[in-house]
Structures are given as structure tokens and as C-alpha cells.
């Protein structure tokens, strides 16, 4: 089978419906956002062209900066917890048999729960008066209260995200691990390699590709997190858990600051675009590396 796809420009006709669909719901709005971002809109009839003023304002907005820092800290915290935990989980998951499928289903469970219900679950679970987690922490002597204490709220959102998304990392790593031929392990056993050596020189290199994808996916997804903290804490207390999406929504819908919100949207979009580009190229690279690897065996 040849791996090079035949060139056929008529294929554009097959893609056309998707292009029309997505253009309607993505390109038109994006153009509108650009328009908004350059004007002060008092009403549809009364609007003033203000140039780059909103962008300048957004770039110097202290609240935005702190939201951005909060977001970055959160995303990095998510990565530092979820990636090692996911790897450990993937390593401990059984490889074969009914146990493997059962564990797989249980682990994947939290990924399939609607995001707002994830928020609800933790809202209930964490309450000090009615929730198991909250009550247990209270018993242990912590004055735990995620609705009042900023640090607790932040930690609760983090734990919730770990609960929700670590399985994704684990599943990706698990898929990577399954692609290692048994012969590698046998060779390692003959050489008397330690457990750590097996991990470091056999398992980790094989997982490198999927791991990078996991890192980027988690980073991007946590970067646009909205539903779960909104349900859990509503961005509070104060603005301890007001991440970028939440901040943008407050600006756009709450205060109806169309211009600044639009400028902010575009900046947000540019960040996402860059991350996306890195992710896409990395996935392409992993894809081709896999194919080449398969060719050698």
C-alpha cells in the first residue's frame, strides 16, 4: 500500500460543508470581535473608532495580569500534579484480562461526566457541613472551608481538576506503554535491569510522544477552564479562582464592556493559536515517528 495520498483537488467539494459551517460559527464571530476591539460602542448607532486603545488598556490591566498569573500558576500546578500521577497510574494499571478492562472503565469514568456535574459533585463533596471531604478535613482539625477561604478554594479547584483529568494522562500513557513489545522487557530482565532502569530507558522513551501530547492538551484545556470552577466557586471567594475565561465572561456579559472584552478575547485567541500550533506540529511528529517505528519492526 502506498502511503502517499493521491492529489485530488475535487476533494475540496467534500470539505466545503465543514468550511461553510465553521466559517459561519467561527470566522464571522472572529471578524466581529476584531471590529469590536477597535471601537467604543455606546449603542449600535453611536460608536467611535478608538484604534488600539483597548489593546493598550488590556495589556496594562492589572486585574487581567493577575487573572493571567492565576491562570498560569493553576495550569502549571495542574501539570505538575497530573503528569506524574497519570504516569504512575498508567504503570500500575493491569495489562491484560478482565481486570484491565474493569480498571480502564473505572479510570475513564470521571472523563465522561459532564463538566458542570463535576462541579456539582465537588460542590457537594467539599462542603464542610454536608460533604464527606469537608467533614473529614474538619474532623482532622483543619478549618476547611472552600467558600470562604481563598487558598482552600484554589486547592479544591485543583483537586477537582486532578480528579477529573488525570485519567486522560493515564489513558494516553497506557496506550503508549501497550505499544512496547514484550521482547524489550525480556531483554531487560536478562540484563538484570532495575525497575527504575526499565522505566527510564524503555518505558519513558516510548511514552515521550504521547506524554508531550498529554502535557499540551492538559495545558490548553486547563487554560480555558470555565465550567467547573464556575459551578464550584463562581470565581470566588473574592477572585481567587477567577481564571481567564471566567474573567472574560464577567467582562463581556456582566459588565458588557464590549471593546475591552473583545480586545482581551483576541489576545486570548492569539495565545491559544500559538499553543495549538505547537501541539499540532508535535502530534504530526509523533505520528510520523510512530509510522517509521512500525516500519522498522
Amino acid at each position: 500500500m502506498s502511503t502517499i495520498k493521491p492529489v485530488n483537488q475535487k476533494a475540496w467539494w467534500l470539505v466545503l460543508p465543514v468550511v461553510v459551517c465553521v466559517a459561519f460559527s467561527a470566522v464571522l464571530p472572529l471578524m466581529t470581535v476584531v471590529n469590536y476591539s477597535l471601537q467604543d460602542i455606546i449603542s449600535p448607532e453611536r460608536r467611535v473608532f478608538v484604534g488600539t486603545e483597548w489593546f493598550a488598556a488590556a495589556m496594562r490591566d492589572e486585574e487581567l495580569h493577575s487573572a493571567l498569573w492565576r491562570q498560569l500558576t493553576f495550569s502549571l500546578a495542574v501539570l505538575t500534579v497530573e503528569i506524574p500521577l497519570g504516569i504512575m497510574l498508567a504503570l500500575s494499571m493491569p495489562a491484560k484480562g478482565w481486570k484491565a478492562s474493569a480498571v480502564l472503565v473505572v479510570v475513564a469514568l470521571s472523563l465522561l461526566i459532564p463538566w458542570n456535574v463535576v462541579g456539582t459533585i465537588w460542590q457537594i463533596f467539599g462542603r464542610a457541613d454536608i460533604g464527606l471531604l469537608g467533614a473529614m478535613l474538619q474532623k482532622m482539625g483543619f478549618d476547611y472551608n472552600y467558600t470562604g477561604n481563598a487558598t482552600h478554594a484554589w486547592l479544591t479547584v485543583l483537586v477537582m481538576d486532578v480528579w477529573h483529568w488525570t485519567p486522560l494522562v493515564a489513558l494516553l500513557c497506557y496506550a503508549g506503554l501497550r505499544s512496547i513489545p514484550d521482547a524489550y522487557y525480556q531483554a531487560a530482565r536478562i540484563d538484570g535491569a532495575s525497575r527504575f532502569a526499565v522505566f527510564r530507558y524503555i518505558q519513558l522513551p516510548k511514552m515521550r510522544g504521547v506524554l508531550m501530547i498529554a502535557v499540551l492538551l492538559r495545558f490548553m484545556d486547563s487554560f480555558m477552564i470555565y465550567t467547573e470552577p464556575f459551578v464550584l466557586t463562581g470565581g470566588g471567594p473574592g477572585n481567587a479562582t477567577t481564571f481567564l475565561s471566567e474573567y472574560l465572561t464577567q467582562k463581556a456579559v456582566g459588565q458588557f464592556d464590549v471593546g475591552p472584552a473583545a480586545a482581551f478575547s483576541l489576545i486570548y485567541f492569539l495565545i491559544i493559536l500559538l499553543l495549538c500550533f505547537i501541539l499540532y506540529n508535535w502530534m504530526q511528529r509523533v505520528g510520523t515517528a510512530d509510522k517509521e517505528g512500525a516500519g522498522h519492526e
Binding site: 459551517c21 456539582t120 472574560l248 472584552a261
Partner: protein, 270 residues
């Protein structure tokens, strides 16, 4: 493998599974309690087992209409997404054409863009079209992330079907539509299932756009669930029951595509 090696791993796994299941169990537990019991005593099992919370949801129009609205929105969205994504995914997996890689990347960016970015224009757009507070508005708005996702998943499954099948069919004189519907589609029905499942999921749970574009008539369940504060304080029991019910449709769909979920996630496409 000897035992002292695997034991810590098993232990870790068990601990994680408890951590994974406990919050879910707690919600289910709560959905069978009364509000008084929830607030007054602290129990691992419902003392006064009750179906009342579920009854409330099925009899109170403000609750069950949320589910109906959600189902309508998701159905419209899923149908459109899959229908437009199928030919496109075929094109991406079978041919190379001018700008295909860039087009694919552009689709991907839409999947990754926070819906908050599109919020303002959507509001204006649907107000202008007179579609505010209708099912179709939310369904169309959700296309922005579901169509790229469907294309992406389907392309992965289609690439797994050898191209010789297409070529043989064309030699045998099949037209493209006939080949696609009678031969190709049955081959990738698992892929269609997985794609449909994820479209279902993401449309079912999307909160921000759904909340902004609807007010009364088309309000989906996720938006309903964010306002359970009544005069008597939070209605925890009903909220928990609603949460359990929100998981149910997803669980049913999972059952049909259970063998492929891991594959869908493992491809990193979600």
C-alpha cells in the same frame, strides 16, 4: 514478577480508584436522601431512602423541560456535525489537496478556542437573526467545537480502512455516494459512534454559550442546574438527583461505544 514489587502498585491503584469513585458515590448517596437528612445528620447510606428528589425532577416542568431542551439541542447538533463531518473526514483521509494541512489545523484551532471568545458576537449574531432563546441557536453555536472534533475523530478511523477497498469498489463500478453509504459507512460505524458520542458529550455539557443564548424556552439542563438556590436555601438533594440524571444519558451512550472510548481518548483526539 514477585509480590513485593507489584503490591505497592496495586495499593496505589486501589487508593486512586477509591479517590475516583468516592465523590460520585457521595452524590448518588445524597440524591436518595431528604434535604433534612442531608443537613442534620452525616451518613454513608441514606437513612430514609426516598425517590422524592427524582419525582420532583420528573414532575416539575422547570426541571424536566431542561432535559428535553438539552436533548433537542444535542440531537440537532449531533446530526449536523456528523453529516458535514463525514465527507470532509473522507476527503482528509483519502486525498491530498491544496491547503489540506492548513485547513485541518484551522479546524483544530476552533476546537481549542475558549467559547468565551465567541460569546459577544454570538449574542449579536443570533439576536440579529432572531434566533435568541431557540434550540437551533445553541445547536449552531456548538458546531464551532463539535464539527472539528467529529472531523478529527472520523479521519482517524477512516485512515485505518485500507484504501484498496475504495479502489476495488470504484473498479466494480460503484458511484461515490453508493460506495460511501453501502460499503464505507458500515466499515467505520464504530468511528461514527465514537464521534457521535463525543459530540453528544460536549454539546450536552457546554454551559457558557448555552446559558447566554437562552433564557426560558430553550434553557438546557446545565443552565437550570446552576440556579437551585430557593428561598429555603440550597436544594442539595434535588441538585444531586439532577446531577445523577445528567450522567445517565452519557452512561447509556457509553455502553454502546464502550470498546472504542479508550481508543478515542488514546488517540489524543479529545
Amino acid at each position: 514478577m514477585n509480590d513485593n514489587r507489584t503490591l505497592p502498585r496495586t495499593l496505589f491503584l486501589v487508593v486512586y480508584i477509591v479517590f475516583a469513585l468516592l465523590p460520585i458515590y457521595w452524590m448518588i448517596n445524597m440524591s436518595f436522601k431528604t434535604n433534612e437528612e442531608i443537613l442534620s445528620s452525616f451518613t454513608f447510606f441514606p437513612q430514609h431512602f426516598t425517590w422524592d428528589n427524582y419525582k420532583t425532577i420528573f414532575t416539575d416542568a422547570s426541571w424536566y423541560s431542561g432535559y428535553i431542551n438539552s436533548l433537542i439541542i444535542v440531537a440537532i447538533n449531533m446530526t449536523i456535525s456528523i453529516c458535514v463531518a463525514l465527507p470532509a473526514a473522507y476527503a482528509f483521509s483519502r486525498y491530498s489537496f491544496l491547503g489540506d494541512k492548513h485547513l485541518f489545523f484551522w479546524l483544530l484551532t476552533n476546537r481549542m478556542t475558549p467559547p468565551a471568545v465567541f460569546l459577544l458576537p454570538f449574542f449579536q449574531l443570533y439576536t440579529t437573526l432572531g434566533l435568541m432563546d431557540t434550540h437551533i441557536a445553541v445547536a449552531l453555536a456548538h458546531l464551532v467545537f463539535n464539527v472539528p472534533l467529529a472531523v478529527w475523530i472520523l479521519e482517524g478511523f477512516m485512515s485505518g480502512v485500507p484504501r484498496e477497498i475504495d479502489e476495488t469498489a470504484y473498479i466494480d463500478g460503484y458511484s461515490f455516494p453508493r460506495f460511501f453509504l453501502t460499503i464505507f459507512l458500515p466499515l467505520i460505524k464504530a468511528g461514527v459512534g465514537v464521534a457521535a458520542f463525543f459530540c453528544f458529550m460536549f454539546s450536552w455539557v457546554e454551559l457558557l454559550l448555552a446559558r447566554t443564548l437562552t433564557s426560558v424556552d430553550a434553557k438546557p439542563i446545565v443552565a437550570t442546574m446552576t440556579r437551585t438556590v430557593s428561598a429555603a436555601g440550597m436544594d442539595w438533594a434535588t441538585l444531586a438527583a439532577a446531577g445523577v440524571l445528567t450522567i445517565v444519558p452519557g452512561a447509556i451512550v457509553i455502553w454502546f461505544v464502550r470498546h472504542y472510548i479508550a481508543k478515542g481518548f488514546a488517540m489524543g483526539r479529545v
